[in-house]
């Protein structure tokens, strides 16, 4: 049982390289105590990678190192890496690093009889013992082949050298020039078989990209793809493509879109933090403006925003946005906003991605704006752009950074999506489209939400206008043929006004008529009342008359009796 456990947990001991990204794709570093072959053409970074391995080993892992150079002299090497900010002289003085330049000059050397390379072994052994080195670099050992004639001896000695290095227990890097049909010119891969890393420098469509591939790694799993890497002022960094997984944390915090009115179109009143938003639209539909609104709103809430502009310079962007009342400069001064401008053709896609990654790691933004991504298709085909976007989105999601892309879509007939949009649309969480609505001799802008993952949203196409006070979303105006915009909206409003006026006057007229009717009615009531009153009067007169008459007759009868 116990044995099983230990068996399960066994992992090849590894030496971390300290090269950003390389340790991830090798799952821990180079095989500890074994030689690794790094091969590649001229200028692909072999020497730099191995030097970085040594220096990082000393600085980060306290493992002293020996650099045996067969090509460059020690002062040259020191100079070359000084530009990366590593002070080799200091490390040399502290007895943590030895640089030994082995000069092999054919013209000086005559071979007469049998020999071996014990001199080299002794030199290397002495250097290793002096600083108690754990890491050794032999750069480029193939130079020996050009300096010495007897290949049989050389090959036998190299084989002996590598097994000797293993015995010494040092983690070694051996570099080799790339050969025609083999990985290295002299077939070094025959001798060094534990780990082979191939560096490559390719130019596709006039854009050069450096790539790295682990050809083999005995006894360990590793990333098998070609990984682009970048050499910049901090040395080499590698970006793994597929080592990222979809298990990032999600936030249910909602942040404002920055555009008044647009928030109302989302049930949650904005975007989720950490989600990604695509704003697509044809030329001149205010994509950048909406992006700037978002950046402005974020900065106002003291969130940090990184803005990548692939079309405009920072100054131009600031000027253009100030014309609609957005002051981006204040945010830059306060340190909440950084604008980076670069032409897409400056780098290959991979380098763009690495640059983005570097800047994101340095600035640690809460939100990122990339304006626009569609320009990147000029340096890569849609498939490559998609793969880059996947990696970028994954990276941002891991850090819970909200990202807003804009994308210029070409004018297509009907509703066939643009290829560039199509390539990223399934990746984004929220997709807003701004589009032209043409009609009655004018062009209006409309905005609508195509999708919003995890949030209810309005289905309306909202018209918006841009004034010197900014974006204003107009209320929806529905006419008999659907939503009305621009002049149609005006016409509709006028129509409404007229009909309202008509209605009002009609009402007034009716009112008056009623009043008149009432007057007539009242008048006739009055006359009827008068008539009635006169009738009553007549009646009462009659009654009195009759009473009088009857009284008279009684009197006559009385007098008559008396008389009789």
């Amino acid at each position: 049982m116990k044995k099983n456990n230990t068996h399960k947990k066994f992992a090849l001991p590894k030496t971390p390289t300290g090269v950003e990204g390389l340790d991830e794709i090798t799952e821990g570093g180079l095989p500890k105590g074994r030689p690794t072959l790094i091969c590649g053409g001229a200028g692909c970074g072999k020497t730099l990678l191995s030097m970085q391995f040594l220096i990082k080993g000393i600085l980060d892992y306290k493992e002293p190192g020996v650099f045996m150079s067969f090509e460059e002299t020690a002062p040259d090497l020191v100079q070359n890496v000084l530009s990366l900010g590593f002070d080799i002289e200091k490390l040399k003085n502290e007895k943590k690093l030895i640089i030994d330049h082995v000069r092999v000059e054919r013209s000086e050397i005559e071979e007469a009889g049998e020999y071996d390379l014990d001199g080299l072994f002794i030199r290397l052994g002495y250097a290793i013992d002096t600083v108690k080195a754990k890491r050794v670099v032999l750069d480029t050992i193939e130079s020996l082949f050009s300096g010495l004639d007897n290949q049989a001896i050389l090959r036998a000695e190299l084989r002996r050298l590598f097994s000797w290095l293993k015995e010494k227990g040092v983690t070694a890097i051996i570099t080799g020039e790339r050969g025609e049909a083999t990985l290295t010119r002299q077939g070094l891969e025959e001798y060094v078989s534990d780990c082979v890393i191939l560096l490559d420098h390719r130019v596709i469509d006039q854009v050069s990209t450096r790539r790295m591939r682990i050809v083999k790694y005995r006894g360990s799993t590793h990333g098998t793809n070609e990984y682009p890497f970048l050499i910049d002022k901090e040395g080499i960094s590698v970006l793994p493509i597929t080592s990222l997984k979809l298990n990032n944390k999600v936030s249910s915090e909602v942040i404002s879109t920055g555009v008044p009115g647009l928030d109302q179109m989302f049930d949650g009143k904005g975007f989720y933090r950490g989600s990604n938003i695509l704003i697509s639209g044809t030329a001149g539909t205010a994509k950048t403006t909406i992006a700037a609104y978002f950046a402005d709103a974020q900065c106002k809430q003291k969130h940090r925003v990184l803005y990548f502009a692939f079309e405009e310079s920072p100054q131009q962007l600031i000027r253009n946005m100030s014309s609609i009342g957005i002051d981006l400069e204040q945010h830059i001064k306060k340190g909440y906003l950084q604008i980076h401008s670069a032409r897409p053709t400056l780098n290959g896609l991979e380098l763009h991605l690495l640059n983005l990654r570097k800047l994101i790691q340095e600035f640690k933004p809460d939100a990122v704006v990339i304006d626009p991504i569609s320009n990147l298709t000029s340096v890569g085909n849609p498939h490559e752009v998609r793969s880059m976007m996947v990696r970028l989105i994954d990276m941002l999601k891991i850090h819970n950074i909200t990202v807003l892309f804009t994308s210029l879509s070409k004018q297509y007939d009907g509703r066939i999506p643009d290829p560039a949009e199509d390539s990223v649309s399934s990746l984004v969480d929220t997709w807003i489209t701004v589009r032209d609505m043409e009609g009655i001799g004018e062009r209006n802008r409309g905005i609508f939400i195509i999708k919003a993952r995890g949030m209810g949203h309005s289905n309306e196409v909202r018209e918006f206008v841009i004034t010197n006070r900014g974006i204003q979303l107009l209320d929806v105006e529905i006419g008999p043929e659907g939503i009305l915009t621009g002049a149609a909206r005006g016409k509709n409003a006028l129509n409404k006004k007229i009909s309202a006026f008509k209605l009002q006057s009609e009402l007034d007229r009716k009112d008056r008529e009623v009043a008149r009717k009432r007057q007539v009615l009242e008048a006739s009531i009055m006359s009827l009342k008068n008539e009635f009153a006169s009738l009553e009067e007549e009646l009462s007169i009659l009654k009195v008359t009759e009473q009088l008459q009857s009284g008279l007759t009684v009197d006559k009868k009385g007098t008559n009796k008396k008389a009789t």
């Binding site: 071979e111 009889g113 049998e114 020999y115 071996d116 390379l117 014990d118 002794i122 030199r123 010495l148």
Partner: protein, 99 residues
């Protein structure tokens, strides 16, 4: 040995008393006695004893014979069994033919 520096100063680098180094020493001794009698000195440096010295003369292979003087420095590697090559390498051959 003479007190003033010899006209020919040779250094033989070896790594321990291996058959190759013994052979190399006896060979150079023989050639020197033959062609440079009285005007040479041979110093033997054992790198196992003095590993530090390997760097100075850029020693890779052993045995290596280094001609320090006269300038320029010449190096001959191997057990020196090929006399022709050694003499050409040390530039002794031309001296011999001039005579």
């Amino acid at each position: 040995m003479k007190k003033q520096p010899a006209e020919w100063q040779l250094i033989l680098y070896i790594a321990g008393q291996t058959p190759k180094s013994v052979k190399a020493f006896s060979n150079i001794k023989k050639y020197a006695e033959e062609h440079l009698k009285g005007k040479y000195s041979i110093e033997i440096i054992d790198l196992l004893v003095n590993p530090k010295l390997a760097e100075g003369d850029q020693i890779l292979a052993v045995p290596t014979l280094v001609r320090k003087v006269p300038e320029p420095i010449r190096k001959i590697i191997g057990d020196l069994s090929n006399e022709e090559r050694v003499l050409v390498g040390l530039n002794i051959k031309s001296l011999v033919s001039e005579k």
